[in-house]
């Protein structure tokens, strides 16, 4: 047991926690006034719901003793046997409970990321059931495959802090749900303008701040590897934010605040799987390319195909996470992390193909299971509010509150 490692991982769990309120404000600012509280509420509800899910059975499914490489057994239900002593298989120098609560924050933020796709039109009851099922049947198994001793972790795939487990899994599921639930009702022909970008910037800043815990905490110890992840995270994020703003400046005549915040977020996502395997200089390249391809995904790809992924969960988390996963296969160096592998640029072709296989299998699984869960929940609850409620707004119709009033 190491007190420094323990203190660091618990502090990082708190940092990752603040990312979910950060996501709530980031998305909330992008919503229209009448739906502000519904977005905040969906994220806050997930914080409560998944905290309990994780302690009661989620942690056991994801990290419990392996069953045929597919899922964790129910041996650790209710945290039975998860106590003060370290679990050497996961983190040998910190209490097992500290590892568990650090992972809990990942299980909270992942479904909260999806909120941005079906925002402003989902029925709250259906949302609650769908997210509980999604976390249990999509997130928990994928976390097990990659981090919990499942079949992908034995294959040699690298995912330092959750490029696939968190970002690609939520990003592709978000895209599918946005398509299945359909577009928001348009009342004009110029789109859906954000109602408060100040809050979006605040949320984006909280995400950047919390991400230090997300990535550097994934070293599960307070040492050089954590420092490397911290530096690459900050560097890639800066490069991606700058890239996005410069592209806008060149193409549209002015750099936008929403652009630089979105670009930084794309950088955070892309460096997530790579941060503990690549050098700071490689992270600059990863960030720049993340800014470019996520910009294309959010602007050109989205308008070409016409899906209404309201706040670009797929364009940022899905696409950014895919790039980061492949980039790990390009830029990883054993000099940085003994436990990792060399990437394509360092003479090892194999890792790149493992990363590609890892990507494709997780995407396929997430899409199939999300589709099944969606159809079941939609048949029982009806996923979408009726047109009248959508026009009035989800705050009043789903939660009986208003975020703002124009009276004193």
């Amino acid at each position: 047991m190491n007190t420094g490692d323990t203190a660091w991982v618990m502090a990082c769990a708190a940092l990752v926690f603040i990312m979910t309120p950060g996501v709530a404000l980031f998305y909330g600012g992008l919503a229209r006034r009448k739906n502000m509280l519904s977005v905040l509420m969906q994220c806050y509800f997930i914080m409560c719901l998944m905290s309990l899910q994780w302690v009661l059975f989620g942690y056991s499914l994801a990290f419990g003793p392996d069953v045929h490489g597919i899922i964790g057994s129910l041996e650790w239900v209710g945290l039975r046997g998860v106590g003060f002593e370290p679990n050497a298989g996961y983190a040998g120098t910190i209490p097992h409970l500290a590892f568990m609560i650090f992972q809990a924050m990942f299980a909270i933020i992942t479904p909260a990321l999806i909120v941005g796709a079906f925002a402003e039109r989902i029925k709250f009851s259906a949302f609650v059931v769908m997210m509980l099922l999604w976390t249990t049947f999509v997130y928990d198994p994928i976390a097990h495959w990659v981090w919990g001793g499942g079949w992908l972790s034995n294959l040699g795939a690298l995912d330092f802090a959750g490029g696939i487990v968190v970002h690609v899994s939520s990003g592709v599921s978000a895209l599918l749900m946005a398509i299945l639930i359909g577009k928001r009702v348009r009342t004009n022909n110029h789109g859906f303008a954000p109602h408060n970008l100040t809050l979006t910037v605040l949320g984006g800043a909280l995400l950047w701040f919390g991400w230090f815990g997300f990535n550097a905490g994934s070293a599960l110890g307070a040492g050089g590897l954590a420092a490397n992840a911290f530096v690459t995270t900050n560097t890639a994020t800066a490069a991606a934010g700058l890239t996005w703003a410069l592209i806008e400046w060149q193409r549209l005549g002015a750099p936008t605040t929403l652009g630089i915040v979105t670009g930084a977020l794309a950088g955070l996502v892309a460096i997530t799987p790579a941060c503990g395997f690549v050098s700071p200089l490689s992270s600059i390249v990863i960030g720049i390319i993340a800014g470019m391809i996520c910009y294309m995904a959010v602007t050109a790809v989205k308008s070409k195909f016409g899906y209404d992924d309201a706040f670009d969960v797929f364009g940022v988390h899905g696409v950014g996470g895919m790039w980061g996963t492949l980039a790990t296969g390009l830029f990883a160096e054993k000099v940085i992390n003994e436990a990792g592998a060399n990437g394509l640029l360092f003479g090892n072709v194999k890792l790149f193909f493992i990363q590609g296989f890892y990507l494709v299998s997780c995407i396929a699984y997430a899409l199939i299971v999300t589709w099944i869960l969606y159809k079941v929940v939609d048949a029982i609850f009806g996923m979408r509010v009726d047109r009248e409620d959508e026009l009035v707004g989800l705050d009043l119709t789903q939660h009986h509150e208003s975020a703002y009033t124009i009276l004193e």
């Binding site: 009448k34 009342t187 004009n188 022909n189 026009l391 009035v392 009043l396 119709t397 009986h400 509150e401 208003s402 009033t405 124009i406 009276l407």
Partner: protein, 112 residues
């Protein structure tokens, strides 16, 4: 000259503006207001305390010369109509004077 005030559903504003532009009355002032007519408000609950909130509405104000009065009224009706309670009302008032601040013009020519 008439002064037209209309209270409409907020999500109908864009349709109303489009209809008004079709009859060549693009000049418009708009504000967010709260109110209710026959349609009841939504129940809001804050820590268990219920209240019937007023409904969000949009108020449109337009000054027009006589020949544009009926086309403007027709355009607002067309754009804002759903047939359900809460579609709103149109009020038409006599307008005594208009001054264009920039040029000092008065009356009919100052409107457009």
């Amino acid at each position: 000259m008439k002064y037209i005030i209309a209270i409409i559903q907020p999500h109908k504003l864009d349709e109303v503006r489009k209809e008004l532009e079709n009859v060549e009355v693009p000049l418009i002032t708009v504000s967010n207001v709260l109110g209710r007519g026959r349609q009841k408000g939504y129940t809001e609950v804050y820590r268990g305390i219920q209240e019937i909130g007023l409904l969000k509405k949009t108020k449109i104000e337009i000054a027009v010369n006589e020949e544009f009065v009926e086309p403007a009224i027709g355009a607002i009706e067309k754009g804002a109509h759903t047939g359900k309670p809460g579609d709103g009302k149109i009020f038409v008032l006599d307008l005594h004077e208009v001054v264009r601040i920039g040029t000092g013009e008065r009356g009919g020519p100052a409107i457009g």
